[in-house]
């Protein structure tokens, strides 16, 4: 029985980690190539969820909604880039943090203004709303498996693009030494706009995929943003491979920690104290992990810059 429960938690952790990877992938590239801290990346995730909720309600189908939401998320990201971010690349990190923090304040309120403060619900597409039996008596929701599959597919596609194409080569070169790439005659601004647009769309895609299982509400991107930053800092800024490994690590540690910490502590403490301490420690685990990683490797596990 415990083994079955543990397996479910592992799958949940995997699913959570892959969602984090979708968000962190864009963030780490933008960070790596342009040395730009974009706190507004979390609201891209929120905007993706809201867009899919709005388009699904409008068209009546999740997949048509998704098909409309993805380009809309892309356009939204490019508009932000054109209007605001473009003026921040030459500024120091403090200015970037503040200006993008201003975008968060604005957009969190703006979605509340447009769609109201109450959470929106997006129905799971009918065909994928059931549960499958993985092993004896282990039922797992199909939609979560779909998220896992989508995350893995995007990860694979990104791996191929980044490691096997000319565009990917330029992105990797940009992450390790942007001025040099620019000096060799590559239009680094255009390259960055592409990376940025794709990153914004991936975050929007992550938001759209979790919309049916989470409530779509203002501020939903804030905590995810912090987790995505934890991921890219652990993975090493600018590294897709690092982001992938760190995202799975964070997803699993967080999910399993919340599940097992109270149980494990029960062997040491009395039950009520154990569950209380467990609930206190579990959410802190990933931050402890991050502090520990940075203590031993101050620039993450797989730094892109040498």
């Amino acid at each position: 029985m415990t083994l079955t429960l543990a397996l479910i938690q592992v799958l949940n952790g995997l699913q959570f980690g892959l969602i984090l990877f979708l968000i962190a992938a864009g963030l780490t590239l933008v960070f790596g190539v342009m040395d730009f801290i974009n706190l507004a990346h979390g609201v891209q995730y929120m905007v993706g969820a809201y867009l899919v909720a709005a388009f699904t309600a409008m068209t009546g189908g999740f997949f048509t909604g998704l098909a409309l939401a993805l380009p809309a998320a892309l356009v939204f990201g490019l508009v932000l880039e054109l209007l605001i971010f473009r003026h921040l690349y030459q500024r120091d990190h403090l200015d970037q943090v503040l200006a993008t923090f201003g975008i968060i304040i604005f957009l969190n309120q703006a979605v509340k203004y447009i769609w109201g403060a109450a959470p929106l619900n997006v129905p799971i597409p009918d065909a994928l709303s059931g549960a499958v039996e993985i092993t004896d008596g282990l039922l797992y929701p199909v939609w979560r498996l779909v998220i896992i599959a989508a995350g893995l597919l995007v990860g694979l596609a990104l791996y191929i693009v980044v490691n096997r194409t000319k565009l990917g080569m330029l992105v990797r070169a940009g992450a390790s030494n942007a001025p040099m790439v620019s000096a060799l005659g590559v239009n680094i601004r255009l390259l960055f706009t592409i990376v940025f647009g794709v990153g914004a769309m991936l975050a929007g895609f992550a938001g759209a995929m979790v919309a049916p299982i989470l409530s779509v509400e203002p501020g939903m991107g804030d905590n995810v943003l912090i987790l995505a930053f934890v991921v890219i800092v652990i993975g090493g800024i600018g590294s897709i491979r690092g982001a992938f490994i760190a995202a799975l690590l964070i997803g699993l540690v967080d999910t399993l920690g919340r599940f097992f910490a109270p149980t494990l502590l029960r062997t040491l403490l009395d039950p009520s104290a154990a569950s209380q301490t467990g609930r206190a420690i579990a959410p802190m685990l990933i931050y402890i992990l991050m502090a520990a990683v940075l203590f031993f490797r101050p620039s993450g596990l797989f730094p892109a810059k040498k």
Binding site: H93, L94, V97, Q109, D222, V230, M284, A291, L294
Partner: protein, 326 residues
């Protein structure tokens, strides 16, 4: 031939520079000192409460100025210290220890321990990694406060009574609360002014400009930065003590990363690296939020763009408008 404009500028900037620098802060503190007597004719308690809030926010932002403005250490977890101070006060109060001096001592000791522990780890990293690791420690404290089931957990904790001094409930009086906040703000300003003017402050600014060179001439940055980190943490903790007393309530919301962002915003709005800029920023931030919230509940939609515009166009903040230099 010298340009007349530059001559003029040189003449204006030249003579008693130190005195000029202190005019604006002296004006600010005079305003705060006289404010309560001016409110005798108006809605006193409301104005007193809001100005007290401004001074408490200013105290937190000013301590952050020591880190960001003078030490180039962009801490994105400074609200953790405010929350630590507030929770230390409230937890002691909930156990019946309402003596203000004991509470302050507890606040200062916990802030020093937390600052030494987190600072020692954070300062091993640089740049973006420093921003992120201070953020991580802030989040840790946030989750710790939400899990304190005995002290309210997510819902926060209401203070049974404000702190007492010498056994007397002085702080019950809002005017006394005001002047105690004023006294602490003034004390912190004088202390920080002395710190940045001292040899230690010059070393800190040297490290801000070029850590490698400072190390080469015999000033290892780490211990100076850690000392500044502890000083800033203690002052922010004391602002938490005041905040808990003023609001008579503490909650995990005090320690969120958004609060840390707000502290940076206040500081940049007022002007980095001047100390009194933090006070100007706190006043502008609080009044703007208060006024806008009277007109529309969507004031954040106006606030966000203002923040972006300040960053893009108003370098030097409000202090810069008065001709102040960082």
């Amino acid at each position: 031939m010298p340009d007349p404009a530059s001559l003029d500028a040189a003449a204006r900037a030249a003579p008693p520079r130190t005195r000029r620098v202190l005019i604006l802060p002296m004006l600010i503190f005079a305003c705060f000192a006289l404010m309560p007597s001016a409110t005798l004719f108006g809605p006193q308690s409301y104005v007193l409460a809001i100005v007290t809030r401004i001074m408490i926010l200013a105290l937190g932002a000013m301590s952050l100025d020591l880190l960001i403005g003078y030490g180039a250490m962009i801490s994105f977890g400074h609200a953790a210290f405010v929350g630590l101070g507030a929770y230390s006060t409230a937890i002691l109060a909930s156990h019946g220890i309402t003596d203000g001096f004991s509470q302050l001592a507890a606040v200062i000791v916990t802030a020093i321990i937390f600052a030494l522990f987190t600072g020692a780890i954070s300062l091993r990293t640089k740049g973006v990694y420093f921003i992120m690791i201070t953020l991580a420690f802030g989040q840790m404290l946030f989750f710790l406060t939400t899990s304190l089931a005995a002290y309210g957990g997510d819902d926060g904790l209401t203070l049974a009574a404000r702190s007492t001094f010498f056994g007397m409930a002085i702080l019950k009086n809002d005017l006394a609360m005001y002047y105690i906040a004023f006294g602490i703000l003034l004390g912190a300003y004088v202390l920080l002014r002395a710190v940045v003017a001292s040899r230690f402050g010059r070393v800190l600014r040297g490290i801000r400009e070029n850590p490698v060179r400072m190390e080469a001439i015999g000033f290892p940055p780490y211990r100076y930065q850690l000392t500044a980190y502890v000083i800033a943490g203690v002052i922010a903790g004391v602002s938490g003590f005041l905040l808990a007393n003023q609001a008579e309530f503490v909650s995990p919301a005090y320690t969120t990363w958004q609060r840390s962002g707000e502290l940076i915003f206040v500081l940049v709005l007022g002007g980095l690296g001047s100390l009194h800029g933090a006070i100007l920023g706190a006043a502008a931030f609080t009044l703007l939020a208060d006024i806008l919230s009277h007109y529309t509940e969507n004031w954040a939609m106006i606030f966000g763009p203002i923040l972006i515009l300040v960053v893009l166009f108003a370098r030097g903040g409000i202090n810069g408008l008065f001709g102040g230099k960082p």
